[in-house]
């Protein structure tokens, strides 16, 4: 049974300086409010893992939370670059950021391997390309049956997975629907997990038998956080604020306007 905690207490209890943390959500259900609480609590030297480090990691990197990023696509989807990520990589501001770079297929397989309790994942990939030359965690093995060359990467085993979901019931079972991404795998791969939810309900019914359900015993803490995925979206609750993603390009382009936005919209606000 997970602990039901207010978000600040949940972040304080679960996330420590130097942890490897995976905030997941593939465009949908991105745990922005949890990220903002991590920023407010000034966590440092985090290794951030995420397939698509979009605005949420741009904010955490610009705020100085991260010393390493493990990722496969870092951009503002449909808009352009992540300026804070680029400033960290190209100029070391606010601190240098080490990169461990993969493809989506590798990241998805590494989460699955972590959830499966495996040390590594293997798949058909990375043939003839440059990433294996710059990432020593990409290796190749021969299939013992066919001899085919397969790519191999270590399993993701984050200290903490942080996700946002639609609902939890009173017993602490969690439901997510729509574009479900890699969140189930991230939670099952992690040692601890924090789930923010739109609402806590008496019963998850009528859940479809095929909804993604994370049983209570797989989760460490649940924090109610209505609107916790904004400006991304929560299927059945609210839509993606596409105009904010477009506007982020100008906000994040220089350090002063970024810092001012963070002061007004993150540091000055408290979560309940």
């Amino acid at each position: 049974m997970p602990s039901f905690l207010p978000l600040p207490a949940a972040v304080e209890a679960l996330i420590r300086d130097g942890d490897t943390v995976a905030l997941e959500g593939f465009t949908h259900l991105i745990p922005f409010t949890a990220a903002h609480e991590i920023i407010r609590q000034r966590r440092r030297n985090l290794t951030l893992v995420r397939m698509t480090p979009d605005l949420v990691y741009d904010q955490m990197i610009g705020a100085g939370c991260a010393s390493k990023l493990v990722f496969s696509w870092g951009g503002n989807p449909g808009v352009g670059s992540l300026h804070r990520l680029r400033d960290a990589v190209e100029n070391g501001w606010p601190n240098p950021l080490a990169l461990e770079e993969h493809s989506h297929a590798a990241m998805a397989n590494a989460y699955s391997a972590g959830a499966s309790g495996m040390p590594c994942a293997f798949f058909r990939g990375y043939l003839g390309v440059g990433l294996p030359d710059v990432n020593p965690n990409i290796r190749f093995v021969s299939c013992p049956f066919t001899g085919e060359t397969l790519a191999c990467v270590p399993a993701h085993r984050p200290d903490v997975a942080v996700i946002h979901a639609q609902k939890a019931d009173q017993a602490g079972n969690v439901l997510l629907e729509g574009i479900v991404g890699v969140q189930k795998e991230a939670v099952l791969a992690a040692r601890r997990s924090l789930v923010t939810v739109e609402e806590i309900v008496d019963s998850l019914n009528p859940a479809s038998p095929n909804s993604v359900i994370l049983p209570s015993w797989t989760i460490t803490a649940i924090a109610p956080s209505p609107g916790g995925a904004r400006p991304s979206y929560a299927h059945g609750y609210y839509s993606r604020d596409n105009s904010f993603y477009v506007n982020w390009d100008a906000i994040s382009r220089d350090r002063a306007s970024f810092t001012e936005w963070m002061n007004e919209n993150v540091h000055a606000r408290r979560t309940a």
Partner: protein, 259 residues
Amino acid sequence: MNYSANEMMTIAAARALSDRDVCFVGIGLPSAACNLARLTHAPNLVLIYESGAIATRPSVLPLSIGDGELCRTALTTVSVPEMFRYWLQGGRVTVGFLGGAQVDRFGNLNSTVIGEYSRPKVRLPGAGGATEIATSCGRIFIVMRHHPRAMVRKLDFLTTLGHGPTGVERRQLGLQTAGPTLLVTDLAILEPDPVTKEFTVTSLHPGVTREQVRANTSWDVIFAEPLQETALPTALELETLRDLNARTAEAHGAAPALT
């Protein structure tokens, strides 16, 4: 009807998709072309987005690869690990539609860095799904704007395998998929030479000269003989594309137009 070079590019790219294709769609220019095809000559075209949406029929173009519209209008939505394992790696996709920051004469793509990897001048988004899309889909179409900095002699980084740095590496690796078979730009259509695999101009868009293509390609580009002229956009193609872009702009507020 008047039309822009970008409209010609999107329309020429859309025409390459057939009604029987199952297409893995990249965001941006590929997404516009794929949905235009579905709304014109290929109503049964199956569109797959890496966020998990299978056989999706969005009424507006998604800004991101995982907009809610893709899930709401999909036949089914699967998890991301399932997408990459069962559907892409499983060989259930006939065409992958990609873009990138740089392409070379053999259809290899860079979306990782400009400059040195360890000290990049420009840090680009990275591979995303492209690396495995390029080797797992039956064949690859590429759509990019023609520019000397985009059509380069040598990639700064090889993110996504085309036919290989000298055109032979893909075959040597024993890959069973065809790799890039089409490159559509705002000036021309290029296809690989059957033997050398070098992308060769097979069709110029109406009004475009060989000199324009040469000036915007950093390698010494070869023109096929006979050289074709791309058919003009039809009224239906233009109206459908403009309606789609207008609906998209309205839905996204400040989103950039994809015309």
